[in-house]
Structure formats: C-alpha cells, structure tokens
C-alpha cells in the first residue's frame, strides 16, 4: 500500500541533547498508528513535526512522496488541551474550521455543517454553548468534531483523552474508533495508555527512552475489528499483545541501545512483531 505520510530519518536536538534521531516510519492510507513511549522520548515533538507546527533538525516528512514543511488542512490535530476558542460557541468553533477549509461558504452554511459534525459526536444539543459551559469530555468531542469536519487526509492526536476521567475516556475511545473506521480515516495517535493503543491501532510504534530515543519495535495489532472495550480483553491474543507492550515499556525501552541493537534491527527497517497472532492460534 502507498504510504500517506512518510517520516524519513528525523532528529530533534535541544543544545547538546539529542531527544530522538534516525526515526523512520510510514503511515499508510486508512491505517491507524499509535506511538507509545515514556515521557521525554519526544513523542509530542514527533506529532508536532507531523502537524507542521515544529520542524526536525534533520530528516524530512514526505506526503504523497513530496517533502512537506508547515501545517496543512490535510493534517488535522486533536489537541490534548482541546484548544477550543473560548469566545466562540461549540458550533462556531467547528464552523471556523469549516470556513478555513471552504472559504466560499456562507456563515449559515458553515454553521449548518458544523451542527451536523457535532451531531456525529453526539453533541446535537450543545452547539450554542460556549466551551466554558461544557464538560471536559464534551469539549474534547467538539475538538474531535472540528478535526473530522474538515475531512483531513490524516488525523493527528496528542494524548487526546489523557485529561479525562476513566469513564469519559472509554466512551470517547470507542467513539473515535467508530468514526475512524466509518470514514476509513488515516490516524496517528500518541498515547501512553496501552489498552487505548490496542483498541484503536493497526500498528503500534514503540519508542525507546530518551535521550537518543529511536523506534525500537513495531507491533502489528492483528486483533480483528470491530473491537470494543467490553470485549477487547476476551479476544484471543489480547493478553499476549498487552504483555508484550508492557514488557517493552517496563524493561526493553530502557535497555534498548542503537549502538548495540538487537539482531535484525535497523533504523529504516524496524522489525515488526505480531504477539497476538502466535497466541491466538
């Protein structure tokens, strides 16, 4: 399959400290990729580079085979802090994004489309409310509606649910899972919630600890879709997959060294593992 976005050998340095380097990966069309790693490995920086809000010190980002710098409507971001404009209502926030995408639209047309987009995330009734009048989960739903409304090529998410309580987080994860598979939306998400990654991702990129972080492993999630939180942990292979990722986060992320890499590892061809497949059979 043709990659939608390709990251080629990017590195980021702050002074003498190299946060990460020689990071290569691709996100294919319609694929959902999660990036998992500890704090300090530069996950957010990688997402910001994908979003065009930050630039790598070396390496490049390719979209459709062409090198891209700067932000674009084709790469929508769902911010951890929801980043809604507080002086606009929920519908106006979404409409603002829509008028950026479609400069020719009238205000009425944009607001009508915005209400439809809010309806898809279950917020039909809250369009006229300001963000301050919405709960944390509702604000994040507006953020999701805003990002999806502009029909981006890829949806970028920076720990979008980490500020929410467990119940709300679960509901929103399923919501995103449904929306993304309905629209065959390409997605890239940063998370440190292992279950979130297993629920949503087709592939999970595991990053070693910084400084000098690399992508150490790529876990292919072979659990069949649709996945739900209620049934996820009953799926054959789930526990093997989860244990594999947890083991990585607890020990292997620390022990990984690019100077003496595990056999078969190279930065451009990080080995793929399918822990769920072996256990399921």
């Amino acid at each position: 399959m043709k990659p939608d976005v390709a990251i080629e050998g990017i590195a980021r340095r702050f002074g003498a400290t190299t946060v990460f380097e020689d990071v290569w990966f691709t996100v294919d069309r319609g694929e959902f990729v999660c990036l998992v790693g500890h704090s300090g490995c530069g996950k957010t920086t990688i997402l910001n580079i994908l979003a065009g809000l930050d630039a790598p010190d070396s390496g490049a980002m390719l979209v459709d085979g062409r090198e891209i710098t700067g932000p674009s409507l084709d790469r929508a971001v769902i911010f951890q802090s929801h980043a809604l404009l507080p002086w606009l209502t929920a519908a106006e926030n979404v409409a603002f994004a829509l008028t950026c995408r479609h400069p020719g639209w009238s205000r009425g047309q944009a607001l009508a489309e915005a209400r439809k987009a809010l309806g898809r995330v279950g917020l039909d009734h809250a369009g006229d409310r300001k963000p301050a009048q919405l709960s944390g989960g509702m604000k994040q739903r507006v953020g999701i509606a805003r990002a999806l409304a502009i029909k981006p090529r890829i949806l970028l998410m920076d720990e979008p649910f980490s500020a929410l309580d467990a119940l709300t987080r679960g509901a929103l994860q399923e919501e995103v899972s449904r929306l993304v598979s309905e629209a065959e939306q390409t997605g890239f998400m940063i998370t440190h919630d292992v279950d979130e990654a297993i629920l949503l991702a087709d592939r999970i990129l595991l990053m070693s600890n910084g400084p000098g972080a690399r992508i150490a492993e790529v876990v292919v999630n072979t659990l069949p879709r649709p996945r739900t939180r209620a049934s996820l942990h009953h799926m054959p292979g789930y526990h093997a997959l989860r244990d594999h990722i947890l083991d990585f986060l607890i020990t292997r992320s620390r022990e990984f060294s690019a100077a003496s890499p595990p056999p078969g590892w190279s930065p451009r061809a990080v080995p793929e593992v399918k822990p769920a497949e072996g256990a399921a059979s």
Partner: protein
C-alpha cells in the same frame, strides 16, 4: 473572602452619610445670631455693615447649591454669546474633544499595539521610547502643541490624544503578545492565514485586555481635559470651572465638580459595557 452586603443596607448607609455631610455643611453656614466683637460704628458706616462683620461668605450652603443646580439644569444648552453658554454646552464641548482625541488615539494605538505585540523585535525597539514618553504629564505637551499646531482647540485634542495613547498601546501589545500558543496553533493547522488569524483569533483573544486599556485611557482623558481647558480657555467644562472661579461663584464650581464626576462615571460604565461584551470565560 469579602462578606456579601445587602444592596439596600449599603444604599441606606450611603444616604445617611450624605445627609449627615450636607446637614453639617448647611448648619456650619447658618448666619450666627451672636455677633462677634462689637463694631466700630464708623468703620461699619465706611465699608458697609455686612462686609465689616466679615459677614456674607462666598461659600454657599447645600440648599443654595441645589437651587443653583435646578437653575442651571433648567436650561443647560443656552448660548448667549461666547462667554455665556449653558453647562450642558460646556460638557458637550469637553466630551467632543475627549471623543476626538481618544478616538484618534485608539485608531493609532490599537493597530500599532497589534504590530508591536506580534513582533518581539519591534517591541524591544520601541519600548525605550514608550517608557520615556509615557510618564510625561500630558500638559507638558501643551506649549509644544500650541506652537506647532497654532490652534488652541486642536491642541487640547492633541493633549487628549497623547495621554490616551499609552494605556491602549501597552495593553494591546501585551494582550496580543500573550495570546495562548494553542489557539495560534489551531489557526496554523487550519491554514487560516495571517489576516484571518489576526481578526478571528488574536483580536477576540486580546479584546478584554485591549478594552481594559481603553477604559484606563478614557479615565485619564477625562481627568486631563479639565486641566487642558483651564489652560486653553474658550469653551468646555474646564474653562467653565475656571471662569466661575474668576466670578467667585463657588456654587457653580461645586456643581461642575459633581457633573465632571458623573460624566466620568458614565464614560467608565460605557467602556464597562464594551468590556462585558468582549469578555470570555476559559
């Protein structure tokens, strides 16, 4: 936390304090029955009994001021020649000058503050000038303005302009510079463009700070116009106050003070309404 007080109790106390103050004033000015030291009849005959007694003071009692107030407000907008115009006309002149000077200052300060807030370089480069000019009393500009402009009416507008520009300039620059990074990032990822970002994101985000600057400015402008008009003369409430001082009409001066206070309150409330309109909760 301050205790909540009932509106009616506070209003009652205010009324009582006012009544006590005015009552004491009134009583203090009652003509005393017991006259002072016995008068030399010759002296009294020479300069008039009242004057010889030290008699009639220029300070009016509240009741006299009230009567004068009714008289002035009965026909506030009369014009009988250049030196005899109603108090309403004088206030209107002052408001016109404040409006013109403040409006021009807003037209300069808000766009300039926007640019300064957006550009750390310009901010650093212009900061020394602003810091030196800001503490200068606006009246210090008056001679220079009179010399350069050669028109006293426009000079007083210039003085209002120069005193209202600083709070608006600094507040706009600060408000624009402190717009939340994530809101700007939203605009960037939506490819909103600089003009749309400025109008749809930065301006509303900074609007509460900008309006606070406008509110400070109009307060200062209203303070300064009285002094400026005392200097330039001709028309305006400041000129009127000075004119009544020359006439030794203390009642008119007291009324002018009251009017200046009320108009100042009104101006502040107007900007307060604007502040409420642009405020947002995060």
């Amino acid at each position: 936390m301050p205790q909540r007080v009932s509106f009616w109790r506070a209003a009652l106390l205010s009324a009582a304090l006012l009544a006590a103050f005015l009552g004491a004033w009134e009583v203090a000015l009652l003509p005393s029955a017991a006259t002072g030291p016995a008068l030399d009849p010759e002296y009294a005959a020479l300069i008039g009994a009242a004057a010889a007694q030290g008699g009639q003071t220029a300070m009016p009692a509240p009741s006299a001021i009230a009567l004068r107030l009714v008289e002035l407000l009965a026909d506030p907008f009369y014009v009988r020649g250049t030196n005899d115009q109603g108090i309403g006309v004088q206030i209107a002149y002052s408001l016109l000058r404040v409006g013109a000077g403040f409006g021009l200052a807003a037209l300069v300060a808000i766009p300039l503050g926007f640019v300064i807030g957006m550009s750390p370089l310009l901010n650093a480069a212009l900061n020394p000038f602003i810091q030196v000019l800001r503490p200068v009393s606006p009246l210090a500009w008056m001679p220079l303005a009179l010399y350069a402009i050669k028109d006293s009416a426009i000079s007083s507008i210039f003085v209002i302009f120069i005193c209202s520009i600083w709070p608006m300039l600094l507040n706009t620059a600060f408000g624009v510079a402190s717009v939340r990074r994530e809101w700007l990032n939203v605009a960037r990822t939506l490819e909103a463009g600089s003009w749309r970002t400025a109008i749809r994101v930065i301006l509303p985000a900074a609007a509460p700070t900008i309006v606070t600057g406008m509110r400070i400015s109009i307060g200062i402008a209203w303070l300064v116009i009285v002094a400026a008009e005392m200097l330039v003369g001709g028309t305006g409430i400041g000129y009127w106050v000075w004119n009544q001082w020359n006439n030794l009409s203390i009642a008119d001066i007291v009324i002018a003070i009251l009017m200046i206070g009320l108009v100042g309150l009104l101006l502040d409330r107007l900007l307060g309404l604007l502040a409420r309109a642009v405020s947002y909760a995060e």
